[in-house]
Amino acid sequence: MNKRVTLTIAKIEHETKDIKTFTFYHKLDARPGQFIMLTDFEGGEKPFSISDCTENEFSVTVKKIGEFTTRLFSKREGDLMSFRGAYGSSFFISNTKVLLVGGGYGVPPLYFLAKRLLKAGAEVVVVNGARTEEDLLFDDKFKELNIKYINITEKGDLGKKGTSVSIAKKLLQNQLVPKPQLGNNNHPQAGAWGRENREKFDFLYAAGPEKMMKNLQKFTGDITYEFLLERYMKCAIGICGNCTVDPLGIRLCVEGPVLHKKLVEQLTEFGKYHRDASGKRIGF
């Protein structure tokens, strides 16, 4: 049995105008890609990916989007919340050369992943995309890691215009070689994007809007990848069936949310539709 835990919010950090990170002091046995079900018992229990997890604390990073998250945004440090988990599948921890591609609130769980990959000895390249510089998530946190890091915005306010997929495409097609971190001065223009030193990634990880991953999939070639997918979750323990994906019938709360390439490729609904709280199909 997975015991419910009720505890105070230890820390709240404002990431962007509509994204906050909530940290709890609790020893959580969690792996990157897993999620918790969070509630305040006021109506709504919702899944959130773990964005960081250390010996004695863990965090979730939340976008304000509807009723529950709006109420969550009105909470203060010291307020009580209740959660169960961690649930679901997790990312494979490789020790080779890997590429992480994130967009939106898919970026924070990749931060937790990057840390675990580094621990395992992987050579980590992260592409972090957002609409504008202000929307960029965990920029400073990634810069503090010993990784190669590329941030990019659609608006181009960091220098170049682009998306995490447009950058990933170049990296995967060997048109771009990421430069190692130079302290905190990680402006993409600060480094040379060369064409030499062709490098090959052994593993690709992505999290973010499904449209983004659907796009990214086109450039994956024969590289092995794992995507973090989302579907409407209610029970999170694999019995209600709300989060099953067609045509496999696997549950994203148990066999997912992290799915291996072999499974993603078989999903006919990937990038096309999902089911809402009633089970009705909704197009993306």
């Binding site: 009720t6 019995i239 009633s278």
Partner: protein
């Protein structure tokens, strides 16, 4: 293996007596399909209503030591989309399907029945016993033998499919209700739905754990209640019973059969043992049959029926 577990239910042959019950892994054709591929002999849809329902706000489910508490709130995509999922399932599987439906009055049940007639479903199950929509619809219909009679009788007149009545354990006299359904023409009975309802409290926040406050119990803790009610019902009626409530392994399933069930539902155990639970229990039933010297499922004996089981019935 399946040859030895084959059984007949209302004239249709099923490869295993195990049934995926309503509300478990059944919001999509693919959920039904993965259950069938993992050894369920028959699958049931989520209880469908005329219009789509999003269900209750969460938490809608809570785990505790010996079972689950749930108040999903009859979330379902509505009869039209729900039947489309079933038809899509039938295109890829020959496993028989029960379509479970819910309404709170005879008129709506009739409307739904006419929709189901046009689908590829094999059986129509009337959920007369959802304990979790009390605020909206009041006491479950299955609490009143007159209502049960009225609805089953009306649906039977219109339904082109055999009709199964799903009964509630939360009644004073199950035999009254079961015999009312039988007299009204029900082809089979399904019992039990969840028990209680009950509740759990978060002692730090001083709040009910479920947002709807109360929810039905399922899983191991309800098995003794289920066995007793199935046995009483079996003693009093002459129509087949789909027995369920807390079945987690092969021995539980054998108990259900001995209590009088023809088919056995396995719901909450999907949580305990994974979606492979059907094949696991199929194997455990075979193992029991081997140990006890039964070569076919139908050789498994039943308890002797209760004497005078119907004497309390006054319908």
């Amino acid at each position: 293996m399946y040859n030895r577990l084959k059984t007949k239910f209302l004239g249709i042959e099923v490869k295993s007596p195990l049934v995926l019950p309503a509300g478990i892994m059944d919001m999509s054709f693919s959920g039904l399909d993965i259950s069938a591929r993992n050894g369920a002999g028959m699958v049931t849809s989520k209880s469908l209503t005329l219009e789509p329902r999003s269900g209750h706000k969460g938490p809608v489910i809570a785990e505790f030591e010996s079972g689950l508490l749930n108040s999903m709130g009859l979330c379902n995509p509505g009869i039209v989309d729900g039947l489309a999922e079933i038809d899509e399932f039938k295109e890829r599987s020959d496993t028989p399907v029960i379509v479970s439906v819910f309404a709170n009055n005879t008129q709506d049940f009739i409307k739904i029945t006419n929709r189901v007639n046009d689908s590829k479903a094999d059986f129509l199950e009337l959920n007369l016993s959802c304990p979790n929509v009390y605020d909206e619809f009041g006491i479950p219909l299955a609490a009143s033998k007159n209502k049960v009679y009225e609805i089953v009788n009306a649906v039977k007149r219109d339904s082109e499919l055999p009709v199964i009545a799903k009964l509630s354990p939360n009644v004073l006299n199950i035999i009254d209700i079961a015999t009312a359904a039988e007299k009204a023409g029900a082809d089979a009975l399904c019992l039990i739905n969840t028990v209680g309802p009950g509740m759990l409290i978060d002692i730090k926040m001083v709040k009910p754990v479920l947002f709807p406050k109360f929810g039905g119990l399922s899983g191991p803790c309800i098995k003794p209640v289920a066995l007793k009610l199935i046995y009483q019902t079996y003693s009093a009626v002459n129509i087949p019973i789909i027995g369920m409530g807390g079945v987690t392994d092969g021995e539980d399933a054998i108990e259900m059969i001995m209590a009088g069930a023809i088919l056995v539902g396995v719901g909450t155990a999907v949580y305990y043992r994974g979606i492979e639970v059907f094949n696991k229990i199929n194997k455990e039933i075979i193992q029991f049959m081997d140990e006890s010297g039964y070569s076919l499922l139908e050789e498994i004996p039943r308890l002797e029926k209760l004497e005078n089981a119907t004497q309390t019935s006054d319908l």
